[in-house]
Amino acid sequence: MLFQNYKTEGFFDEMFSADGEVRPHYRQLYERFRQLSEAEFDHKRQAVDLSLWRQGVTFTVYGDDQGTERIFPFDLVPRIIPQTEWSYLEKGLEQRITALNLFLKDIYHDRKILKDGVIPESYVLSASHFRPEFSGINVPRDIYIHVCGTDLIRDDQGRYLVLEDNGRTPSGVSYVLENRIAMKRAFPNLFTRASVRPVATYPNELLKTLRYVAPGHGEQPVCAVLTPGIYNSAYFEHCFLAQQMGIEVVEGRDLMVRDRKVYMKTTKGFRQVHVLYRRVDDDFLDPTVFRKDSLLGVPGLIDAVRAGNVTLANSIGTGVADDKVMYYFVPRMIKYYLDEDPIIPNVPTYLASEKKDMAYIMDHLPELVVKAANESGGYGMLVGPKASRAEVEKFRGLVKANPRNFIAQPTISLSRHPTWCESGFEGRHIDFRPYILYGEKVSIIPGGLTRVALRKGSLVVNSSQGGGSKDTWVLYEDE
């Protein structure tokens, strides 16, 4: 009943093929949902929302002095990935994080890839998250990015493409776990038949990764989550992960450095910390090195890292890999370090700082998506086909004024997924963020965060701009 009027409208739909057939891996779900009336579905939806509300999985609406809180919209139709597709993604993501870690080690040491002319040196040195202060410092086991949240999309043919690599402090994994719990509550019987791979082992894998990169040897390392504090929008996630791992959540003011070692202030005095899973940006880590006005930081922390007495996960300076200009070069990194072709391709990208590309960008601006190299969260972005003339002209000026800071890509027609809207199911654009851990081996939880642009026609999935999320099921099998 629920899918009676559903239309794919020429987009690549995750659940239905172009001729309206249900894809095999969605068949179980389709059968179950077909038995539901609209009222039953709506009832389940409200129960889940209420439960999320009670659990305080909310964010505060900015600019509202009443402190109004909202839950992150959660859509009850799960996104499903069959086994074969998943193992393809796993291979591609493992290849990518391996290359990125080799790249980071290289540019903070010998800079071979620059000397060999594979990437122009100026691009790396001018990246705003490149940390020259950190050159020549060794990190345990040469791992820089321990936790990566790579954003993937699918185009109108259903091809997966890498949209960006988030190698700093990617967030959202708690929603992966919470969404699954919510789904299990709403559809307990569905899971027993659908053969969905569990995601609950993530905190355990994360803790293993953290322990693997602890400095020194012998004693059990003490790990902690470093948070900016309760006003950070991801604070809930920081607590959630710490609690699941059985470690402390610390703020900068809970820590102090003595003799190049990091200690927590406890009711029984000082206790050394060996690994910090930090969710604080580089700039705010240590006021003696980075931003002097940072109140979140720990004076002397970077020196303790240099001395090898504490490990930061992720390491310092990984943001250079998030630079959208650097993204352009990732396929070349893969070729250079691994001598392989990229398994999951990039979105075709034009660099405004390259003469030929710039000419193309200027000629085709209204068709392109333009992105600032170092912004995230959907800010600093122009979606040409959806923008007014004035916005396009504004970006033309911005790009011309600072070419290094912009890239452009063709507008990808993102895949769509049935999503609950006010008048039943409608197709909405989605993306996908799997979480990759790099420790003793690469481990990717089978699942991830599927974000959905709830506004009709919108391509922006960020929660700050009208996005919601879905549970993501990776199946043991292909259907």
């Binding site: 509300w53 659990q55 202060e133 610390v250 003011r253 202030k265 009711t267 004076p299």
Partner: protein, 336 residues
């Protein structure tokens, strides 16, 4: 297990704010009920009736500035919903929730969900409606939720050091709040001096007992006769009633000793010393000592000494003096 000082601080304040919200609800409730027993209510009398409460859970100047007229509706709104008043029930609940948010990894899901529910409820229009039509029901809801939170903590929180800080906060606050409640009786005016010990006096003492949920327990111990010295004895010096000041101090002393790792009758820091000393002073006091000193004077002194324990506790466990510990040599190396 280790416990961060900041986390200890938040557990302690979570306990205090919940208890404070509950006791403010108790106080407002008892005063509303007392009003029903008074006759000839002119504005002046009503103002006098509410004044001690405004002073104990807020501040008179703030109230005058915000409301002016001290009628029942204004005062109860000030003490219940006004977020400019840091002593209001809503402020306490907001603060309790903020502290719980910090330590939610130490609390069970059930506790977190309940404090969330309470927060959303008190801010809802529904709550305002209940409050306006049936204040008794509204304040009962606050008390019930506090009881539920304490019960949930009792049944679900691990008995480690963090738990002891939660207990310490809750008991310390309760010792102060019971003190304030008894002291309110001192401020409530009787129609005239000849009413001392009379029917209205007894009614007021009964209301105080009710507000501490001690009505039944009192009768069980002292019989039907409600006498001021018996009530004072019961609410201050009872060894067995869980809201009496002595009882709270004994449990507080226990929590501080567990945190400090010392046995009964010993101490290893100033907080433990002050708590133990005050406890034993109460243990070796009788109600005659209290009335000899003057009930109000006695309670005032007791309150300031309880506050001193709170300060000592903070200094012993939750506060680290700022030390500049990056040595200059290291710093120059970094800036190179």
């Amino acid at each position: 297990m280790i416990l961060l000082s900041r986390v200890a601080d938040c557990m302690y304040w979570f306990g205090r704010y919940i208890e404070r919200a509950e006791n403010t609800a108790r106080m407002v409730d008892v005063n509303l009920q007392l009003l029903l027993d008074l006759e000839r209510l002119d504005d002046h009398r009503i103002t006098a009736h509410w004044d001690p409460l405004i002073r104990s859970a807020g501040d008179s100047e703030l109230f005058d500035r915000l409301y002016g007229q001290a009628d029942s509706e204004n005062v109860t709104d000030f003490l219940t919903f006004n977020t400019d008043n840091p002593g209001s029930i809503l402020s306490s609940i907001v603060n309790a929730r903020e502290n719980a948010r910090v330590v939610r990894d130490k609390l069970s899901t059930e506790i977190w969900e309940e404090i969330n529910r309470l927060y959303h409820y008190v801010r809802s229009l529904d709550a305002k409606r209940v409050w306006a039509s049936d204040p008794y029901d509204f304040y009962r809801e606050i008390k019930q939720s506090s009881h539920l939170l304490h019960g949930l903590a009792d049944a679900t929180v691990v008995r480690d050091e963090a738990w002891e800080f939660l207990q310490a906060g809750r008991l310390l606050e309760r010792a102060i709040q019971t003190n304030v409640l008894v002291d309110i009786k001192y401020h409530i005016l009787l129609p005239s001096t000849r009413d001392v010990g009379g029917a209205i006096d007894a009614l007021q003492w009964m209301a105080i007992l009710r507000s501490c949920s001690g009505f039944e327990a009192y009768h069980h111990i002292h019989g039907a006769d409600v006498q001021p010295w018996h009530v004072a004895d019961f609410l201050i010096l009872s060894e067995d009633f869980p809201r009496s000041i002595l009882f709270c101090l004994r449990e507080l002393d226990g929590a501080i000793r567990t945190i400090s790792g010392v046995s009964e009758g010993r101490f290893s820091n100033r907080a433990g010393k002050l708590a133990g000393r005050l406890l034993y002073e109460l243990k070796y006091s009788t109600v005659d000592d209290i009335f000899e000193a003057g009930l109000h004077e006695y309670l005032t002194d007791l309150r300031s000494r309880t506050g001193e324990i709170a300060r000592a506790l903070y200094e012993a466990f939750m506060f680290f003096p700022v030390v500049d510990d990056v040595n200059p040599e290291v710093e120059s190396q970094i800036q190179r």
